[in-house]
């Protein structure tokens, strides 16, 4: 999302930064504020923009490297804008032996993106994870908070279609 562009919640980025400031103020002087503030930032913007890093560093009086170090350590945080739907393919051992890699290949083909990238329509971001703790259901993928179990490469198209449709329905509702 570039400067001035509308984001999904209808605020422009400047407005979001103001809201971020309010959030930081509410966490100020609380120990361990950095991670909750970053979580709020990630939810607010869909990623952690550089302006937010500077703001958080200054307002929480934390060194810039610490803020950036935490962001890049946890896969939950992203420095780049993510799509509306974050697809995470489990590449843990159980999923892997059940063919997770083929699922990943199928997703890459279907979406025409690589790991970490976002589709041009900003709908999907592709990512991988290492074991979501549901090995009995392997192979699994997660789309935002939804878990899809026993996924087959051939079933990928259907799953994606459902989310595309969901978006279309939503847009109809909005208009």
């Amino acid at each position: 999302m570039s400067k001035g562009e509308k984001c999904s919640c209808g605020d422009d980025e400047k407005g979001l930064l103001e809201r971020l400031e309010e959030i930081i103020v509410s966490f100020k002087n609380k120990p361990g504020a950095l991670i909750p503030v970053l979580q709020a930032t990630q939810s607010l913007f869909g990623y952690v923009p550089q302006e937010a890093i500077l703001k958080i560093s200054e307002m929480l009086n934390e060194p810039l490297h610490k803020v950036h170090g935490v962001i890049t350590f946890y896969s939950f945080f992203s420095l780049k804008p993510r799509g509306k739907y974050l697809i995470r393919v489990c590449l843990g051992t159980a999923c892997y032996v059940q063919g997770a890699n083929e699922i990943l290949t199928a997703l890459k083909q279907q979406l025409s993106i690589e790991i970490g990238e976002t589709t041009t329509d900003k709908l999907f971001t592709l990512d991988v994870g290492r074991c979501f703790g549901a090995c009995g259901l392997a192979p699994i993928i997660m789309v935002n908070d939804d878990v899809h179990q026993f996924v087959k490469p051939s079933g990928v198209k259907k799953i994606l279609g459902a989310y595309k449709k969901h978006k279309a329905v939503n847009q109809e509702e909005e208009t």
């Binding site: 550089q50 500077l54 560093s57 009086n61 060194p63 810039l64 490297h65 170090g69 890049t72 350590f73």
Partner: protein
């Protein structure tokens, strides 16, 4: 206790680690992530050893010794384990020593050498990633082993908090700020990371390719910049007569840490611009002369002028930049040969109020405690000090103390960078220190937070001050200082309840027309709180220059001989006359620096002998100073570079600089430290003591200065508080005065147990007086002045050293965002700043360091320096000028390229 390493018994002490004992006994254990300053990390695993009765391998760096422990560091399996760790490290990145500056001083190379590793048995993973964006530091990521020493150094040693670890797993990397190039980051380039890096990952850019560590002669000496007096090692290329690299010595006062100037601002010594030959002004032009011609001319001029008009038409200036020996030489010459007390130096422009104020209150005009004690204090109260820029290494200790839990209060009209580490930042109005501090004392006494015992036993007039301070209720103080009542009460409470308070101040206190009163008020505060004469407390002025303390100690002052022996005290005079073998020393106090200059316009000062003082650029109101200097009959300047003052000189004499002669400096905590000759001087430069000796000879007095050491010994013979300090004693470590006998261990803390030098402490009444020139309709802004991290005083050293000027190439006028908005000025625009005394044109820096109505700039750049604008109004006791406040107006001249302030902890936009 006894422990066994490889079946040999060694004695060890409780709390030691296996690595400590092994190191002490010459047993090599590879170690990479551990450094005594960054502490135990136990992450590189290179130091694994086998311990009987313990499973697996143990890391020696964090393994505490136990009685009877059996340790094996040499067994085949142990070595194999160590070898595997180092082998894996070698396979990360690309470790090729062939063209590496650190070859021969690399701990990874040492490990490979000792373990017999020629190359990794795995494959290299070169990325070619290098960061050369910084002016002074190169990061070669291929040589980084992620030991974390640089990160620990940056965050916990110097506490600049720039370097960190980013990303995870195999991608883990060190990074600056939010993973931006080092040169764009908030890095202040102190080089502590370079000093602690065990490999060639972080190296000094300017010494790259000029030779490896082992090729140079190492000369231990003292830093020639600020008053902290950092100990450093010069790496000297003897054949080229050049300093190639500077490293910090791991001893007090700096413990290896340096700042950008100390570590990277060293090339000035062999700048082609150095003065190399005596010059005599003929027909308005300086022409090369021989020493004999120059000295004969000066001697003749002095002889005839003094014979005709008396000795008081002669004045001399020593300097806070030159050695103790040279200051002593200047004052002895002035007093013993000319027979006048007209000798002074640049402490007049900075800390003279400290000397006067503290001598009045305590009997001794110097810092009471040592720098290292900052780490032991509970509350650090910093007032009027931009220490991260002016005394960077002292600020590292303050920041570290704050990080370790000491409370830090910063009071300053400007939001100076140290405020970012403070618990409480108190923005008071410019020049309101007296009422602000009085208000605090009122509140402290009202709540019974004072140290009643200390006041009763150790001060002269406790009841008097209690009664008098009632005139300053906190509400009144708040109204004057602009600090909210609640905040004042909070500060008072923090001060009152802390067990140990150390007050640190600098020129924000002294450079006012009320400078001496400001200092006395600080003394009052600490006497009320009883935080004097014990560890971790005290009144600690940060003396500005490398040897401004020493210049005072040496008697380059119009009222005292060396070691503060009064020039009006007949007993002292007789003693010194006898020792010097002269009679008829002047019994009247000499002129202070501003008076010397002022008298020039009245024809009462005819000759000024100026050593190491760029008077024209450093005195306030340059236009006036020029007029004064022009009215002198004869001006002699001894210096290392041509500067604004040499232009007016009738004779210029070339001086040697800090690494061209032996000598001593006294630092801000009264530590007399040694400096050594490391290189040969350029051309025909001579030390000042030699010049004074030669002049003395021509005027009929043998001053007995045959060497720096002989000069020091001459001082010591009639000295008091420094009488016990000899060159032999300070070869390795400095000694803090008072040190009256050669057996005396030196005095880290003055007034121990509240026994003041003057007997009992004396409270003073200090009342609020406004600054000399208040802003008005025509000149609506206050201009305050000071120093920048990247430069030093009139820039003769820093602007003649490669790199510093690339970082900070021109002076900037700091303007608050509020004022900038009103004037439609942005960072980078050219503005004209005008006071009633002059105009300078410079770039604007819009920054919230400055509060509304206050602007700020320094005097480093002769092209646009603050002293064109500053006011020639002086402290009434010491004649210290009010550099910290005058009134100016600002006009925008033209638009500039917009520069965005990035980050918030940095000394530049």
């Amino acid at each position: 206790m006894q422990i066994n390493i490889n079946n040999k018994s060694f004695s060890a002490q409780e709390g030691e680690t296996v690595l400590d004992v092994a190191k002490r006994n010459g047993i090599y254990i590879p170690t990479l992530c551990y450094h005594v300053k960054t502490g135990q990390a136990a992450k590189c695993r290179a130091c694994v050893v086998a311990v009987e009765g313990m499973r697996g391998y143990q890391t020696a760096c964090n393994l505490s010794v136990r009685e009877g422990m059996n340790i094996n560091t040499e067994g085949k399996e142990v070595k194999e384990a160590q070898r595997m760790v180092v082998d894996l490290m070698l396979s990360s990145g690309y470790h090729n020593c062939l063209a590496c500056d650190r070859s021969g001083s690399c701990e990874l190379q040492d490990a490979c050498y000792h373990l017999g590793i020629e190359k990794t048995t795995f494959s290299d993973h070169p990325t070619g990633r290098k960061d050369e964006s910084s002016e002074f530091i190169v990061i070669d990521y291929d040589k980084c082993i992620k030991c974390g020493r640089c990160v620990a150094a940056c965050n916990h040693s110097v506490v600049n908090e720039v370097l960190g670890f980013g990303f995870r797993g195999l991608e883990t990397t060190i990074m600056c700020d939010d993973d931006i190039p080092m040169g764009d980051s908030t890095c202040v380039q102190c080089g502590e990371c370079v000093q602690l890096c065990p490999t060639g990952a972080l190296t000094d850019k300017k010494s790259r390719g000029k030779g490896r560590f082992l090729e140079f002669e190492k000369v231990d000496t003292t830093c020639p910049y600020c008053g902290v007096g950092c100990q450093l090692t010069l790496h000297v290329d003897r054949a080229k007569n050049k300093v190639v690299r500077v490293t910090g010595r791991e001893v007090w006062p700096n413990n290896g840490m340096l700042c950008v100037k100390g570590r990277y601002g060293f090339e000035f010594h062999d700048s082609p611009k150095r003065l190399q030959y005596p010059m005599i002004k003929k027909n308005g032009k300086h022409e090369r002369a021989t020493w004999d011609e120059a000295l004969d001319l000066i001697a003749e001029k002095i002889k005839t002028t003094v014979a005709k008009h008396g000795p008081d038409v002669f004045s001399a200036l020593g300097s806070g930049r030159i050695t103790n020996e040279n200051n002593y030489a200047v004052q002895k010459f002035t007093r013993a040969v000319i027979k006048t007390n007209n000798v002074d130096h640049c402490a007049r422009t900075c800390h003279a109020p400290t000397v006067a104020g503290l001598a009045h209150a305590f009997g001794s005009g110097a810092a009471t405690n040592s720098i290292d004690e900052i780490l032991e204090t509970d509350l650090i109260f910093v007032i009027g000090s931009n220490m991260t820029e002016a005394h960077p290494v002292a600020s590292y200790y303050v920041k570290r103390a704050a990080q370790n839990g000491s409370k830090l209060i910063v009071c300053d009209p400007r939001r100076v960078d140290i405020a970012h580490w403070s618990d409480l930042y108190v923005p008071l109005r410019v020049g309101t220190d007296v009422p602000f501090l009085n208000g605090l004392m009122n509140e402290i006494l009202k709540n019974g937070w004072q140290d009643e015992e200390f006041m009763k036993n150790n001060t002269e007039n406790p009841e008097d001050i209690k009664k008098w301070i009632q005139d300053y209720p906190v509400e009144k103080a708040s109204e004057i200082s602009g600090v909210p009542v609640e905040q004042m009460k909070q500060v008072a409470k923090m001060l009152g309840e802390a067990k140990k308070v150390s007050v640190i101040y600098c020129l924000g206190i002294t450079e006012h027309t009320t400078g001496t009163d400001n200092v006395k008020t600080i003394a009052n505060l600490q006497m009320i709180l009883g935080h004097l004469g014990k560890r971790g407390c005290g009144v600690n002025p940060l003396r500005g220059q490398n040897n401004v303390q020493g210049a005072c100690d040496m008697g380059a002052l119009p009222n005292v001989f060396h070691n503060y022996q009064s020039c009006m005290d007949e007993k002292a005079i007789l003693k010194i006359e006898k020792d010097w073998g002269v009679t008829g020393l002047s019994r009247t106090e000499g002129y202070k620096l501003p008076t010397m200059l002022h008298k020039a316009t009245q024809g009462e000062t005819k000759i000024l002998f100026c050593v190491g003082d760029n008077t024209v650029q450093t005195e306030p109101n340059t236009a006036k100073t020029i007029k004064e200097v022009e009215s002198l009959e004869f001006l002699v300047v001894v210096d290392i570079f041509p500067n604004m003052t040499t232009e007016y000189a009738d004779v210029i004499l070339p001086d040697v600089c800090f690494n061209e002669d032996d000598g001593t400096y006294s630092n801000l905590d009264r530590r007399v430290q040694f400096l050594r000759k490391a290189v040969d001087h350029p051309g025909e430069a001579k030390p000042t003591w030699w010049i004074m000796q030669e002049l003395g000879k021509r005027l009929g007095v043998d001053l007995k200065f045959t060497s720096a050491n002989a000069t020091w010994e001459d001082m010591r013979r009639s000295g008091t508080i420094m009488g016990g300090i000899t060159y032999e004693r300070i070869q390795h470590l400095g000694l803090q005065w008072p040190c009256p006998t050669v057996q005396h261990p030196g005095t880290p803390i003055l007034h121990m147990n509240g026994k003041f030098t003057r007997g009992k402490g004396l409270f003073s009444h200090t009342n609020y007086r406004t600054q000399a020139e208040l802003p008005d309709k025509d000149y609506p802004f206050i201009l305050s002045t000071g120093r920048r991290l990247w430069h030093y005083h009139t820039g003769t050293q820093t602007r003649n050293s490669v790199g510093l000027e690339n970082i900070f190439p021109e002076e900037l006028l700091e303007i608050s965002p509020v004022d900038a908005k009103k004037m439609k000025v942005k960072t980078g625009d050219m503005v004209k700043a005008t006071s009633r005394r002059g105009t300078i044109t410079l770039k604007a820096w819009v920054t919230d360091r400055s509060p509304e109505g206050v602007t700020w700039c320094a005097f480093h750049f002769r092209e646009a320096h603050a002293n064109v604008l500053t006011i020639d109004a002086y402290d009434d006791v010491t004649e210290t000028p009010e550099y910290k406040a005058c009134a100016i107006k600002i006009e925008k001249v033209r638009e500039g390229v917009e520069v965005v302030n990035r980050g918030f902890r940095q000394a530049r936009p």
